[in-house]
């Protein structure tokens, strides 16, 4: 079982390694950088949602905390970007614990509502605390990251760096899932009472995994800041949380690979549609971006109807030899 995950990571690493040579245009790499950032957040979110069974509509807030920590500490206080990213992680961690203690006692819709409220509060603060966050005018002039004296200033370099982080995060997540903690989390997902009776400290475990997923989101936010070099509250509204949840759900919440599949699919979809519109334009068919929403809706609806376990599960089932052993062992745990 574990072996398959490692093979998966290996295959993904290979794809990442050859990608810049395959695509031949930096523009696609730029799109894939944003894809990597979404993957990172979604891997964390999947640990929380799929394995521990706790829904969070507040992850845009952690992305925002990471992004703003990086942006503000580097531009206003002249910090080193890595130190700022570290500070973002610490702030996210502390915030997640503080928010997690009361909210993770809630269940189902109430937890969703509480985290949704948290995301709204963070967004309002970003907009209204003009003197600190720059308000709706945002923060510009954010420096780029540097790695061993090498500036991450080309799309290729940022692409490799971000995807390397995704691979590390995946490796970490896979190991976590198959550890004692991971099995404990899945037990919580199954039944909190049963898990508790078997000696799983459900409160601590839930808060831990919430904080961990917040860290993933925070790093993704920091990378966003250092890639786009300008941030305002726009990309970090509550709808971004919804998008993240959608990515995980579309891919399949019960597998970390599902989160990756969903993040990749939904990040590439807008570009795919614009590609489609260009193709149609050659046949003199006018495609308008207004239709995007319709197509999104249709895709989500059909996945939820026909592949309720997510896209990744669907793909896996179509390779039946792959699926049998997999699902069995997973259920067994």
């Amino acid at each position: 079982m574990n072996m398959k995950d490692y093979i998966g990571i290996g295959v993904l690493a290979l794809i990442v390694a050859v990608m810049p040579f395959a695509v031949g245009n930096d523009y696609y790499l730029g799109v894939l950088v944003f894809t990597a950032l979404n993957c990172l957040t979604c891997i964390g979110l999947c640990l929380l949602l799929g394995y521990a069974g706790q829904i969070s509509l507040g992850h845009s807030a952690f992305v925002a905390i990471g992004a703003y920590a990086s942006a503000l500490l580097t531009t206003k206080l002249g910090w080193n970007p890595w130190a700022a990213m570290g500070a973002g992680i610490v702030i996210s961690l502390v915030t997640a614990v503080l928010v997690g203690i009361p909210t993770l006692k809630l269940k189902g819709h109430y937890l969703a509502m509480a985290t949704l409220g948290f995301a709204s509060i963070v967004h309002v603060v970003l907009v209204a605390a003009v003197d600190i966050t720059g308000g709706p005018s945002g923060v510009s002039g954010i420096p780029r990251l540097e790695l061993f004296g090498l500036a991450l200033d080309t799309d290729t370099r940022i692409f490799y760096f971000c995807w390397a982080l995704v691979l590390v995060a995946l490796y970490f997540a896979v190991n976590l899932i198959h550890s004692r903690v991971g099995r404990g989390l899945q037990a919580i997902h199954g039944s909190e009472d049963a898990a508790s009776s078997l000696g799983v400290n459900i409160t601590v475990d839930k808060i831990r995994i919430f904080a961990l997923s917040a860290v993933f989101a925070s790093v993704s936010g920091s990378l966003y800041s250092h890639y786009v070099l300008y941030i305002d509250p726009g990309p970090f509204d509550v709808m971004h949380s919804v998008l993240l949840i959608t990515m995980v759900a579309v891919g399949g919440i019960h597998s970390i690979w599902g989160a990756v599949t969903g993040a990749v699919l939904l990040s590439l979809l807008p570009e795919g549609l614009s590609f489609l519109s260009e193709g149609l334009a050659q046949f003199n068919i006018q495609y308008k971006t207004d239709y995007d929403t319709l197509i999104y809706g249709a895709i989500l609806l059909s996945i939820m109807l026909f592949l309720p376990e997510g896209l990744f599960d669907g793909i896996r089932r179509s390779f039946s030899f792959f699926s049998k052993t997999n699902t069995e062992t997973e259920r067994g745990q």
Binding site: D26, V31, P136, S137, S140, P270
Partner: protein, 384 residues
Amino acid sequence: MKIRHVLTAMVAASALCLTSAAAVMAAEELHVGCILSITGKASWLGEPERNTVEMIAKQVNAAGGINGKKLVLHIEDDQGDNTQAVNAANKLIKKDKVCAIIGPSTSGTSMAIVPVVQAAKIPMISCAGAAVIVEPVAERKWVFKSPQKDSDCVKRIYDHLKTKKITQIGIITSTSGFGAAGRDQLKKIAAEYKMDIVADETYDPAATDMTAQLLKIKAAGAKALVNWSIEPAQSIVPQNMKQLKLAMPLYQSHGFGNLKYAAAAGDAAEGIIFPAGRLLAVDTVAANHPQKKVLAGYRDSYEKAFPKDKVSTFGGHAYDALWILVNAMKKAGNDPAKIRDEIEKTKFVGTAGVFKFSAADHCGLDKTAFELLTVKNGKFVVLK
């Protein structure tokens, strides 16, 4: 050995042929990118802008193109989203190889792609208002913008307040990018005009009632009120003022420049004073004004091409941006660096005002670009 020489020569020759053929192909078309918020939360900006650039491209190509070369527009929709705008800019620059970019529509998306165009050395003319898009000029070598500056709008309002001998004012601004930038400028320029801001209130762009803020402003003893917003919520301020029987004069920003906002406020809108481009009140602009011909020309051709739509200032910003670019390309061809230098030398009579770009000024408009307008019988007219 010999064969290898011959082969090398052949390869070199065919490569040369290919590149020159490619050069000829490229020379026949001029590629310009447009990043506009056609759908999403700022679609009321992007839609008329898209209509306008498509209309101009048709006109330019019908008249034989730019020096005989066809103008090809690559229009991208950023949906008002920063990430999409960055993707669009990368696509236009790296894939479509455009020589200049028009847009984006909003200040946020414009700021998001500034680092991209600066690094790629591609000129862009933003259609968004905030002054920070082009300032400081030293860090915005490749960035221009076509709308008027919000600071000039503030100056026109303060000028008028001075003639009325009002110095104690209240300000109420929305917490959007537009509102926040306006609030900054109102406070910054107040000292220069010896204005005393006795009350400084804000409201959410989605707010539905401003009674609480207005009561505070009344209690603070303001003699006039400045309302700064670009969202429909701004129409609630005059309505609330009427309900509260507040008699102080109300000034609005150029963000009020959409007849729908005046209509939404109904009777309460009568008498509101606001600085705006002259496009909104073409008919009441003096016949000998230098902009009169451009304004009437743009309005007539737009409303003829899009009979269901009314002309708006936002389409006007795209009109100015694209014509400034087309004029620069007539002299500079498709070389981004030369186009940039030409734009910086441009003098142009546009819909937003009379542009005069320079190395120190990438907006090119001053406060005369604004005219004080007022609402009279539900219509915008020049304030006499």
